[in-house]
């Protein structure tokens, strides 16, 4: 800004009057347009350097208004408005009444207009990013502003969440959400720069009037609604909180085993993410329950146990092993096999006459017994039903809530406003912010209208001090005439 890319035209001589209005933004609504003005322009097709018709005051045409006095140089005039023409100007095409100068009425709004309906999903900002940096980068990347058009610096408030992102939000509203964390709000100032207007009620006043010489009238305004006396501020914790469910069955199954193995290890995951050990459902305090062992053999099923795989935190379990000891010793089978083989060998030797018959008889009996033992051990096949119980839990980013309320309010008299900002994460910080926001709500019941001598340096969100009272400016209206009347009407909240 400051240097227009297209030619600039000074049309001061054709503008007969300007009705200027500047309002507070982002206050209990989403109004982002700070200022607008209506220009009365003399219709002149032959004007130089450009004609003064509806063809030159096109929708979107950039307009900048300077306030000054012809007795001083124009370079010293103060830019009080930078914006664009909105819509189509009105003009009288024909009238039977006495001829007056044909006029154009042109309405202009500030630059915020362009960004009201621009919904974006912006880039994610990583932890430790200052919100000022996030606001500036958002403005550059999604409002397509030049860095020189943005007068926002570091705000000394770093993002703590792993990632923070504006998702599906109007871009200017998103910047407002970012700056809300530090009690500021975006607006385009008179020069067209994007600034972070400070809403601090304790900031120093821009003007301090020792007497009422500059003041025409101060009038307290009627308020037709009750004032909020409680502020509930919501944020999101940046640290995960475990939300633990009641103990329930996490997994169950069957194991069929027998003589062919002595121990069964069965991996159990609490979700279907098998193979991804540290993902999926998690639990704590897991244990085995309701195991039932059924088998034919009396020695089957010596033990069933649960071996959870506990993570480093000492309680999280994603998976574990059901370990089933069948009670079967492989040495038994080897022994029986060996006995049978030995008995067969002795029987063979008996046929050859090498060993006496009574030894062969013993060998036959031993072989038969070994065979029966083998057959019996092969019937040792059983079935185990198992269940693993535990407390599933989820790690969530918990909502934080800080309420600031005027004391001594009866329950039925509480009038609360709820404000939410997911970029807030520290409950202590939120407490201070909630207090500030409560102060801000309370002063809305102390609205004043101040008629005073025009001062182009005073803007909305400024604080002025008149004798012992302080006011926070919420709107400014003035008519810039030629010659001017030199007055402006402010509305303001009394803050002291």
């Amino acid at each position: 800004m400051g240097e227009a890319e297209s030619p600039e035209y000074d049309v001061t001589d054709w503008v007969s009057s300007i009705s200027y209005s500047e309002n507070i933004t982002w206050e209990n609504n989403d109004d982002a347009i700070a200022s607008n003005c209506v220009l009365s322009v003399i219709y002149d097709e032959d004007a130089l350097p450009i004609e003064m018709t509806e063809k030159t005051w096109l929708d979107g045409t950039p307009v900048r208004i300077y306030q000054g006095d012809r007795r001083i140089k124009k370079e010293l005039w103060i830019p009080i408005f930078t914006g664009v023409v909105r819509g189509v100007p009105s003009t009288t095409e024909y009238s039977r009444s006495e001829t007056k100068a044909r006029m154009l009425n042109v309405t202009c709004v500030d630059r915020a207009e362009k960004y009201l309906n621009s919904v974006v999903t912006a880039r994610a900002y990583e932890t430790e990013t200052d919100v000022g940096k996030a606001a500036v980068e958002t403005a550059i990347e999604w409002m397509y502003l030049d860095r020189r058009e943005i007068m926002i610096g570091y705000q000394d408030y770093a993002i703590a969440h792993t990632q923070s992102q504006l998702v599906d939000v109007e871009v200017l509203k998103g910047v407002f959400q970012i700056l809300f964390t530090v009690g500021k709000k975006p607006k385009f100032n008179g020069e067209g720069f994007l600034v972070a207007a400070d809403t601090d009620l304790d900031k120093p006043p821009i003007r301090r009037y020792q007497n009422k010489d500059h003041i025409v009238e101060i009038r307290r305004e009627q308020i037709l609604s009750s004032v909020n006396n409680s502020v509930r501020l919501l944020g999101i914790d940046d640290e995960l909180t475990a939300v633990v469910e009641s103990t329930k069955r996490l997994a169950h199954g069957n194991i069929t085993s027998g003589f062919f193995e002595d121990e069964v290890r069965h991996r159990v995951y609490f979700s279907e993410n098998d193979g991804k050990e540290n993902q999926g459902r998690r639990a704590k305090n897991t244990y085995l329950a309701n195991e039932r062992i059924s088998s034919i053999g009396a020695f089957f099923g010596e033990g069933l146990r649960w071996a959870p795989n506990i993570e480093d935190d000492g309680f999280t379990v994603f998976w574990g092993q059901v370990v089933f000891n069948t009670g079967y010793d492989p040495a038994v089978r080897a022994t029986l096999t060996g006995l049978w083989a030995a008995s067969q060998a002795i029987i063979l030797l008996g046929w050859l006459g090498v060993v006496p018959d009574w030894i062969v008889a013993i060998a036959q009996a031993t072989g038969t017994a070994a065979m029966i033992g083998m057959i019996l051990s092969m019937t040792e096949v059983g079935h185990v039903y198992w269940e693993v119980h535990g407390q599933p839990f989820q790690n969530v980013y918990q909502q934080l809530c800080s309420t600031a309320q005027l004391s001594g309010i009866l329950t039925e008299d509480i009038k609360e406003i709820e404000l939410r900002n997911d970029w807030l994460y520290d409950i202590g910080y939120m407490r201070a912010r909630a207090k500030e926001l409560l102060r801000r709500e309370l002063i809305k019941g102390w609205s004043y209208q101040i008629h005073m001598i025009d001062d182009p340096f005073i803007e909305v969100d400024d604080i002025i001090e008149i004798e012992s009272m302080k006011f926070y400016i919420t709107s400014i209206r003035k008519n810039l005439l030629r010659p001017g009347d030199g007055k402006m009407i402010c509305t303001a909240w009394r803050i002291a």
């Binding site: 633990v244 909502q399 934080l400 309420t403 004391s407």
Partner: protein, 183 residues
């Protein structure tokens, strides 16, 4: 009487829905009753959580807003008061506190002393615009008259000039004197 549950805050309801549907008992300790104009309010400490993680919520304001029901004001829990007066509060998860913070401020603490509707008389007493005496200007927005614990009814009647046969102050409107009557 049927059991009544209620939540004042929509937020509380949302917070509950965010968590799993499980009820966890909460105990209320040290009730400090405040009786203002017929409404029973009390401040107490509430323990929220499961065995593994109790957390203490200090200074929770609980208000009885309907017969048989106690509605928690600041904690995302359901609360019920039995006819016998026992308070039961039920939460639906072990929300780890202090995620909820509640602070009340007086006008003076907010540096808005000009907002008081009270004024101090020469004798040091603090009165409101109607002339009723208050405990002091530091009690914030609304402060119950000194010593009141009952419902009051406003009446308007002619009484003798300067009479003091009533408790809560006098406002003069010409010959008519209005007063608050204890009922």
């Amino acid at each position: 009487m049927a059991r009544e549950f209620s939540i004042v805050r929509e937020l509380s309801r949302r917070e509950l829905e965010r968590h799993t549907k499980r009820f966890i008992g909460v105990t209320v300790t040290k009730p400090d009753f405040r009786d203002q104009n017929g409404l029973t309010e009390w401040v107490c400490d509430i323990r929220v959580g499961v065995k593994e993680g109790w957390a203490l919520v200090k200074n929770c304001l609980i208000a009885q807003w309907a017969i048989g029901a106690v509605t928690d004001m600041n904690v995302p829990v359901l609360a019920e008061r039995s006819e016998a007066g026992r308070v039961t509060i039920i939460a639906r998860s072990d929300i780890q506190l202090p995620d909820i913070d509640f602070v009340s401020y007086s006008y003076d603490q907010l540096e808005f002393s000009f907002m008081h509707n009270l004024r101090t008389l020469d004798d040091g007493s603090v009165v409101d615009g109607f002339g009723y005496e208050f405990a002091g200007p530091s009690d914030g927005g609304y402060t119950a008259p000194v010593g009141t614990s009952t419902t009051h009814r406003y009446s308007n009647r002619l009484i003798e000039w300067g009479s003091t046969d009533f408790d809560y102050g006098v406002t003069e409107f010409g010959a008519t004197i209005s007063e608050w009557e204890e009922v």
